[in-house]
Symmetry: C2
């Protein structure tokens, strides 16, 4: 199981659902837009502190970012 990909999928989905841009999340979470892009692509392995900052910026619990999804069953 690749946590980078799981977090990426959850992140991308939640952000779109909230109708926010990567730039907005980046500013709110105090991380770079380029890093946001990398995370959503499943290409970065964030620390739990970064995870929390992102969840705060999205206005959701950090649990939502690590919750297994359907893709995860495969």
């Amino acid at each position: 199981m690749d946590m980078r990909k799981l977090v990426g999928r959850n992140f991308a989905r939640l952000r779109r659902e909230k109708g926010l841009t990567q730039e907005e999340i980046a500013a709110s979470a105090d991380i770079s837009q380029q890093y946001v892009s990398g995370l959503e692509r499943g290409g970065r392995n964030p620390t739990v502190q970064s995870l929390y900052k992102i969840a705060q910026a999205l206005g959701v619990s950090h649990m939502e970012l690590v919750r297994p999804d359907r893709e995860d069953e495969r």
Copy 2:
């Protein structure tokens, strides 16, 4: 909210409940005993991949390691 401390508390508690030593977890998760100690003390900021490896070694879902606990209400 300090995720390092939350993960540390959950980790230490679960490990004791399972009656496993830090050394055993370290070997199973392929990380160092010294790092395990640091994590449990709340002094390290693990990546989500490391989080998953530890959860596997504990035989629990990674969700258990990031779940808010009572201390977290304060």
